[in-house]
């Protein structure tokens, strides 16, 4: 694999556990050495340079604050190793503690802090050294949900403020999508795709990315025709859908067709078939607030209102109410395949009850096909 991180960016590596992302991070930090290849920081090859001499700092999964030292001593640890004078250290420690929102906490012991505060001390301890790259190894994993949501936003704003390059690894796609400028999706030791969060979500490059990032429905079927990145799929149930087709797939190929729940519209004749924005983002789609590079190109806006070529009759099995992320669990008639359909909470669909038969449909460009089984 090969990747580059621009200075000052928030770069995430997203992948299921055991895919090698921690090993990658430890190689950048210098705790493990690669069998082959080059890691360069600010243009300098890092091979053979010990972790304590690299311009990178690592925030450990369990933070690894020194329990026998106070907050100030923890933060001052790295500066002392550089032989800085006592007064200068004191000033910088105070500075950085203020920057992470913990002024006056210097004399506390780590055991007296809450999870979020410990997090900020760990960040301060690294930031005070002004590293070229700050590496973060799933630092939010140990926090509870509420705090995690809060820390996501805090980390993002903190990064924007200090301008240090962050390399963040996580298995939580929401963390990666919300905070990052660029995300690398990693699987079994390889990068599947390196892109902006929005592109990962809308234009996945592989079946793995399509299945791993965000929620998705999968239909298996056979390609009936394929031209120019678009094609016709006959599903195993016998329905025929138009969809985008990944390169290299020819007529007759077995394919998995991925379709996002929020792209599936209820009662498509009455509703607009536009898939972007209009239906209110479901999970992972809420990247619009985050910095989302302009590298989105080639995504022509979809028609606001138009015919939905793909239609299917489904029966509602259950309503999964989850506020703005509410969904319908449905299955096509005479099939056991589960299809998730986003249920916008705009009161238009309040009449839907479990057992109802409804028509759902989606735009030609909403679905995307990859070779069957390639995502597993």
């Amino acid at each position: 694999m090969s990747f580059e991180v621009e200075q000052g960016r928030f770069f995430s590596i997203l992948g299921p556990s055991g895919c090698g992302k921690t090993t990658l991070l430890r190689m950048i930090a210098g705790f493990e050495s690669p069998d082959s290849g080059v890691i360069a920081i600010r243009g300098r090859d890092m091979a053979g340079i010990a972790p304590n001499r690299r311009p990178v700092n690592l925030i450990f999964q369990h933070l690894a604050l020194f329990p026998m030292m106070s907050v100030a001593e923890n933060v001052a640890f790295g500066l002392k190793r550089r032989g800085m004078g006592g007064r200068e250290i004191g000033r910088r420690v105070q500075d950085v503690l203020e920057r992470v929102g913990l002024p006056g906490y210097g004399s506390k012991m780590p055991a007296q802090l809450s999870g979020g505060q410990k997090q900020r001390v760990a960040i301060a301890r690294c930031l005070v050294l002004e590293p070229a790259v700050l590496l973060l190894d799933e630092p939010l994993g140990a926090l509870d949900l509420k705090l995690r949501e809060q820390m996501k936003v805090e980390l993002k704003t903190l990064q924007a403020e200090v301008g240090t390059t962050f390399v963040y690894i996580t298995h939580d796609q929401s963390e990666a999508l919300v905070m990052s400028d660029h995300v690398a999706v990693m699987n079994a030791g390889r990068f599947e795709q390196v892109d902006t969060p929005r592109n990962l979500y809308r234009r996945p490059a592989s079946a793995f990315v399509a299945g791993f990032v965000g929620e998705t429905n999968v239909w298996t079927g056979t390609l009936e025709e394929a031209t120019d990145g678009a094609g016709l799929v006959r599903t195993d149930e016998g329905a025929v859908f138009r969809a985008r087709v990944a390169a290299g797939l020819a007529k007759g190929a077995r394919v998995d067709m991925f379709i996002r729940p929020e792209a599936v519209l209820i009662d498509p004749d009455g509703a607009s078939c536009a898939i972007d924005g209009a239906t209110g983002g479901a999970t992972g789609g809420a990247t619009s607030g985050a910095v989302d590079g302009a590298a989105d190109g080639g995504d022509a806006p979809l028609p606001v209102r138009g015919p939905c070529a793909n239609r299917v009759q489904v029966q509602v099995q259950a309503i999964l109410f989850d506020g703005a992320a509410s969904r319908l669990l449905t299955h096509p008639e005479e099939s056991r395949r589960e299809v998730m359909v986003a249920l916008p909470q705009n009161r238009l669909y309040d009449h839907i009850k479990p057992g109802d038969r409804i028509t759902v449909g989606w735009d030609d460009r909403a679905g995307i096909c990859f070779a069957a089984g390639s995502g597993r």
Binding site: A29, F31, A50, P51, N52, R53, V56, N57, L58, F60, Q61, H62, A64, F66, P67, M68, F77, G78, R81, R82, R125, C126, L129
Partner: protein, 301 residues
């Protein structure tokens, strides 16, 4: 709890009350109390009384501080005493310096299985009695010993060198004898040290020495102090190793006590020496705890 609850103990009665519980407690405590009382407290009380009385052979019955006065009056006594204390502290420090790298290597450097194997190898010599181990050293080091044989065979020395019966050898023997009692507590505290703390320190720019000084040693302090107390007391009270490896020149205070009891039959003087040694070890341990800022209750856990 039994299926049919006792009338006195209703469902809300705490488990530890009731006459049955008290009986069990008494049953368990009796051997301990008997052992402590008959074998520790009673003899010591007797010795304490004895130390304040004169040897009946001198006729003068009654209380006296003469035995303690003797100790300070006779330089050989208190010089041996000071020497023993100083060397015990030295042995404790040396044992710590030797044991820390060993314990660190066993817990943090090698793989888990190797670590178990190494610990067993450390324990193995202690299945043999101290006497046999010290004789082992003597076979190695004496004039006609293994080491001299090889030195001469290789032409490094022309005549055999006497390596036994000096202070350096004695101290080495004492360090060897007590090393395990330092390694075991150190291994247990080091096992509780999170590896990521060491990595974090390294990541923040610390070298190996700084990591030892700022992270490893502070974390290990309870183990160091408890190991230190055990090693110090064992060394101070050791009779065998100084006597065999240091010979007549060893001048260890336990030998003075032995001489009073066995050679001079002056039990009263011996008892006084015994209590002086007890007072000394208590004082030095108290001082050590104060200096390292540790509490005895935390250390003995």
């Amino acid at each position: 709890m039994s299926a049919a609850p006792h009338a006195a103990s209703g469902p809300s009665a705490p488990l530890k009350s009731g006459p049955g519980m008290r009986l069990t407690l008494a049953l368990f405590l009796t051997p301990v109390v008997l052992w402590l009382g008959l074998l520790i407290v009673l003899p010591h009380l007797d010795l304490l009384i004895m130390s304040f009385r004169m040897d009946p052979a001198f006729g003068d019955e009654g209380w006296s501080l003469e035995n303690y006065h003797q100790f300070f009056a006779e330089p050989i006594y208190w010089l041996t005493f000071v020497r023993t204390a100083g060397y015990s502290v030295l042995v404790t420090l040396l044992t710590f310096l030797v044991s820390l790298p060993v314990a660190f290597y066993v817990t943090k450097v090698v793989a888990r299985n190797t670590s178990r194997f190494l610990l067993t190898m450390l324990l193995l010599p202690f299945w043999v009695s101290e006497l046999v181990r010290v004789y082992g050293w003597m076979i190695l080091l004496r004039e006609s010993g293994v080491l001299n044989h090889w030195l001469m065979a290789l032409g490094i020395t022309g005549a055999p060198v006497e390596m036994l019966y000096n202070d350096a050898t004695m101290i080495m023997g004492l360090v060897y004898t007590s090393m395990l009692f330092m390694v075991v507590p150190l291994v247990s505290v080091l096992e509780s040290l999170d590896d990521s703390l060491i990595e974090a320190a390294c990541d923040l720019g610390a070298g190996p020495w700084t990591i030892m000084r700022t992270i490893v040693v502070p974390h290990c302090m309870p183990g160091i102090v408890s190991g230190g107390i055990v090693v110090f007391m064992l060394t101070l009270g050791n009779y065998l190793t100084p006597n065999l490896m240091g010979g007549k020149n060893s001048l260890w205070f336990t030998e003075q006590i032995y001489n009073q009891f066995i050679a001079s039959f002056n039990w009263n003087q011996g008892a006084a020496f015994g209590f002086l040694l007890l007072a000394l070890s208590s004082c030095i341990i108290w001082l050590g705890l104060r200096l390292t800022g540790q509490k005895l209750s935390r250390v003995v856990q």
